[in-house]
Each structure stands twice: as C-alpha cells, then as structure tokens.
C-alpha cells in the first residue's frame, strides 16, 4: 500500500421503510425485535456498516474520508439519513421533489445517478441487497449502467487497497455453484449482502454528534433532472391492477402418534405429489 492514501468519498444509498414491514410477534430474538422499529431499511445497514469499516481500515475519520448517506423520497425519507448519521455517516443528502412520486426502477435510477454526479467526487457507491420482491433489485445495476461504472452486486466481502495511484477493490460473491473473486478499480458501485458484517447500533455519542452533521436537501432542478424523466411521467412500466391474494389458511394439523411420517405420505399421495 502507498504511504499517502487519498481521502475516500463513499456514498451509501439508504431508504426509509415503514415500521410495519416486519411483523413484531414473529421476531423471536432481541435483534430483530429491535430492528422492527428501525426506520432505516435493515438491508441498508449492512451497506453503511461496510462503508464505516472501510473508513476504519484506511486510517479512520482523521484520514479525511467521508461517508455520505443518500436518500430520495418524501419528508419521511430523511429519517433514513438521520439514522445513518447517528450510526456514523458524516453527512447526508436528501433528494426530494413532488415529481418523484410513482418512479419505477428506471426513474429511481436516473434520479440517484444524477445525485451521484452532482456530488462529483464519489469513489464508491454502496447499496444494500434488495428485498426479495419489488423491482428495486434492478436499481444498483441500472445505476451502474447510467453512470458507466463497474458494478459488483451481492458482495459478501469487500476490501480496498490503494496502489499505483488508484483505489482497487476485491470482493467475494457466492452463488449456487460457484464462489467468485471479483476485482475492479474505483469508482465503482457495490451492493452487499447480509453476510458481509454485523451492523453496529448508534450509541449516545453518535446520536449527539449527528445533531451537528449536515443534511443537504436537493430538488430535481438542483441535480439537473427534468421532472418528465422521473415519477409517473418518466416510468417505463405501469402496474395495471393489484389484487390482494387470499391469505393462506391453515390446513390440517396433526400430532405425531408414531405414524405421522406415513400419514404425511398419504397426504402427498392424495395431492398427487409422489
């Protein structure tokens, strides 16, 4: 590694999720119960933690590195940024504009790409992995395409090193049948999985310090996006209708009296599953 590593600027994309996303009575352990009150998507906490660990691994706050928490959306969205500042991000950015309502993945990606360009000197964009559904899983890949940056999605480990005058990243990715090592120079965009780390909690000091941190509020005009490119107007897909699916009802529940395995096979035979 070089003697003098330049300061890193990391943008972490965070979003606000309603408290109700996680059903409380189902969460057995304290950790998830606590998180059900979280106002920052828990999957984004892994991205923020990854950013903070990278800063710590390269000289800490004193080295001039900056972690910027970025969010977009209505007034509530800023809570995700506030929470990030309490956990340890250095500054926040909140893109808010009435025209953003109804954005699909491409609109969201265009707006976020514009924010990253507006920030100017971002070395690394970090995001959480998406939840299982919702087209939001498309956003990191679309951002990479729009910004013409290398993408590394689903990283389960992430390291940076500075040599030859540039930052380089090494990440690991796991899929069904292969584990991959991936390398890239920065700038790049990386999404991380829930395997990468154990996110920290804000402590009292962090909560106090957050009060002095800056949140810049930006409009679409500030980042140079025409309102017609985002929101309902700029969407490339449309949901025609949504039907709630009938809730699954409980079927037959039996207690094992020594023959439950055979009764299970009877059930499978009835359902023509053998």
């Amino acid at each position: 590694m070089d003697e003098t590593t330049p300061a890193l600027r990391i943008a972490v994309l965070v979003k606000h999720v309603p408290d109700t996303q996680f059903d409380r009575h189902l969460n057995g352990d304290d950790r998830t119960t606590d998180r059900s009150e979280s106002i920052l998507s828990e999957l984004d906490e892994y991205a923020l933690e990854a950013a903070l660990q990278l800063v710590e691994a390269h000289g800490g706050d004193g080295a001039g590195h900056r972690v910027t928490a970025v969010t977009m959306g209505g007034a509530g969205a800023v809570n995700a940024v506030k929470k990030s500042l309490q956990i340890g991000a250095h500054e926040g950015v909140h893109l808010t504009d009435d025209a953003l309502a109804g954005s699909d993945a491409s609109g969201t990606s265009r707006a976020l790409a514009a924010v990253i360009r507006h920030l100017g000197d971002v070395d690394l964009v970090l995001t959480g992995m998406a939840s299982t559904d919702g087209e939001t899983s498309l956003v990191p890949a679309q951002l990479a395409e729009l910004l013409e940056l290398p993408q590394v999605t689903f990283a389960s480990s992430l390291e940076l090193r500075h040599d030859g005058g540039a930052w380089h990243l090494t990440a690991r990715r796991e899929s069904d049948n292969v584990a991959e090592t991936v390398e890239s120079t920065l700038p790049a965009i990386v999404s991380v999985t829930d395997q990468i780390n154990e996110p920290r909690y804000p402590n009292f000091k962090g909560i106090m310090a957050a009060k002095k941190k800056q949140i810049s509020v930006l409009s679409l005009a500030d980042v140079g996006v025409d309102p017609s490119e985002v929101g309902h107007a700029g969407a490339w897909t449309r949901v025609e209708d949504a039907q709630p699916r009938p809730a699954r009802s409980q079927g037959v529940i039996i207690t094992d009296e020594g023959d439950a395995g055979r009764r299970l096979v009877d059930f499978l035979a009835e359902q023509k599953l053998l």
């Binding site: 292969v178 395995g261 009764r263 059930f267």
Partner: protein, 314 residues
C-alpha cells in the same frame, strides 16, 4: 409477427429446463429468436430449431463471461437491436435480472421481473410483497424486457425443425468488474432451488444434521433448502437459504422442517402451492400457513416418511 428474443447464457450440451420453458413461452408470443452468450453445440442448435428458433445471435468477441454482468447486458441490448426484437425474455436468477436491468437502460425499455405469466400483449402477471398481492403490469416504453420465474410455463416437447442461422453481434466491452477467481462448489446432483418442483427445507431444529432432509428430498426428487439460522450455523451452504435475503421459491410442494416460520423466511416460500410443516412446537407460526402440519420431531417423522415412499415405490 414480432421476434421474441430469449436470452440463454451457457446451455452446455443440452438446453436447461428454464431455457426450454422460455422458448415455449416465446413461441406463444411471437417468432422465437435467441441471444446466446456461450457456445452453440450441434445438439443445442438442433433443439433450438425444434423450438422454432430461426435466428441465434452470438457475441463476436470472446471474454464477456469474465466481465461481471455489464458485458452480457451490452451484448443482449445489441442483439435485441440487431433482431429488432418486439420483446426480450430472460430467466429469473439474480444475474438474469441484472442483465435485464442494464439492457433496459441501454434500450430505453421497461423491465418487469418475477413474471409468472405473460400474455400476447406482453402484459405480465406477478406476485409482489412476498406473495401477498397479485399484480398485472406492463411495459409502456421500449421493447418489453421480462424475467420469467421457473415453472411458470410447461415446456413443450420440441418437434422437427431446422438448425437456426447464426448472426454475430459486435459488443464494445463496457466498464466492468473482472472475475479473477472462481471456485466451483461440489454439485449436489439435486435439482436447483430455482427450478425444483419440490423443496425440503430445514432450520435450527435440524440441529446440525441435514441427512434426513436430503434423504427425503432424494426420495421425492426435490431440492434441499434452509432457513438463515441453519445456513448461519454452517450446517449447509449459504446458497440454500430461502427467504428475504435468500432465494424465493414457488414449488409445487414445500416441506418445512424445524423452521419456526419467521416473516423473513415466509417471504421466500409462501407462494408454494402446498406447504407441509413439521415442528415440535404446536404454536410455531409456520403452522398458520401450512396445508398439512405435523406437531412432532423431525428426526422420527422424516425418516419414516422417506422409508414409506421407498416402500410404496417397490
């Protein structure tokens, strides 16, 4: 009739089941064509012809495989333009969704993922919010790009046909991360979780030994899945995890053993057609969504079921 371009990565010697499903669907929507990253063997060429594929587009430059996603997306977008495709269909793996996402930007086209049905006007049916809503959605701009879940269509038996014409497509290598190391995991010999019609999944209650689950899965021809508690404990590979941060599966049958049924677990399996749950605790939340529940010990129930299936088969 408009061309419907099916994205196929590397078929190997024969087409994968999901590829055949996509080709079957494409043939019902228009004229099937294929964008193929890997090698085109004689057998695959014959199979494609039998599915009515007249044209195959392939990258003229090698090495796209080493570029994470970006290269394949650039190729797919170029192939869609070369074919003047009316729509593009892909599988529903994480990588396929990302390729779709990036190709969507390149083609200024809308992308819809997780489709379970696609009609002639390319309107898509899908489940959202962990299966609690069924949504109809359509692409309003560009060439519809749709990723389709496995088992959404019954693959037709291929018939006759002639080998398709091959068209090379030039692709400029985009900025991308490079895959510099790859270690293959030992194949399990079981169907993949994405494709399996039967999934047998275990959780913390398995207490370290997935043997009884593997035996039942093998007797049923199914795949083995797990809760995060089981993968975190290192009892089974992380890729077996089902749920919010793992795989989403919708098999014909999901057998849940020693899993409590946390909301993050349910998010990945509650669209299964039939759910069977085995749990020691009569109050386990998984019973609320089970079609058939057994309050009992999995270490006795599963082996008995496996033995019974084997007995009935002989």
């Amino acid at each position: 009739m408009a061309k419907v371009l099916v994205y196929i990565d590397t078929p190997g010697e024969n087409l994968h089941k999901t590829d055949r499903e996509l080709l079957t669907l494409a043939a019902t929507l228009g004229e099937p064509a294929v964008a193929l990253v890997g090698e085109l063997g004689d057998q695959v060429a014959a199979e494609l012809g039998a599915y009515g594929v007249g044209a195959v587009y392939q990258p003229s430059n090698a090495g796209l495989d080493e570029l994470l996603v970006a290269g394949k997306a650039a190729f797919l977008a170029a192939a869609a333009e070369a074919a003047d495709a009316g729509a593009v269909l892909l599988g529903n793996t994480f990588e396929a969704k990302e390729i779709a996402a990036r190709a969507g930007i390149r083609l200024s086209s809308g992308v819809i993922t997780d489709a379970v049905a696609v009609d002639e006007s390319f309107a898509v049916t899908k489940a959202v919010f962990a299966g609690s809503y069924t949504v109809n959605a359509s692409v309003t701009t560009g060439r519809p790009i749709i990723t389709v879940k496995a088992n959404s269509v019954e693959a037709a038996a291929p018939q006759g046909g002639t080998a398709p014409a091959v068209h090379p497509v030039d692709v400029a290598a985009p900025a991308a991360a490079r895959i510099t190391g790859r270690s293959e995991k030992a194949p399990s010999g079981r169907p993949s979780l994405d494709e399996a019609r039967i999934v047998v999944a275990g959780g913390r209650g398995v207490d370290g030994d997935f043997g009884p689950l593997e035996d039942l899965a093998d007797a049923l021809g199914g795949a083995v899945g797990a809760s995060r508690a089981a993968t975190d404990a290192g009892w089974i590979d992380h890729s077996a995890q089902i749920g919010q941060t793992g795989k989403t599966v919708s098999p014909q049958l999901y057998v849940s053993a020693g899993i409590s049924g946390a909301i993050q677990q349910k998010a990945g399996m509650q669209t299964a057609k039939i759910i069977v749950a085995i749990n020691k605790d009569p109050d386990a939340p998984v019973f609320e969504i089970a079609d058939f529940g057994i309050v009992g010990d999995l270490t006795s129930v599963l082996p008995q079921a496996t033995e019974e299936i084997r007995k009935r088969r002989t």
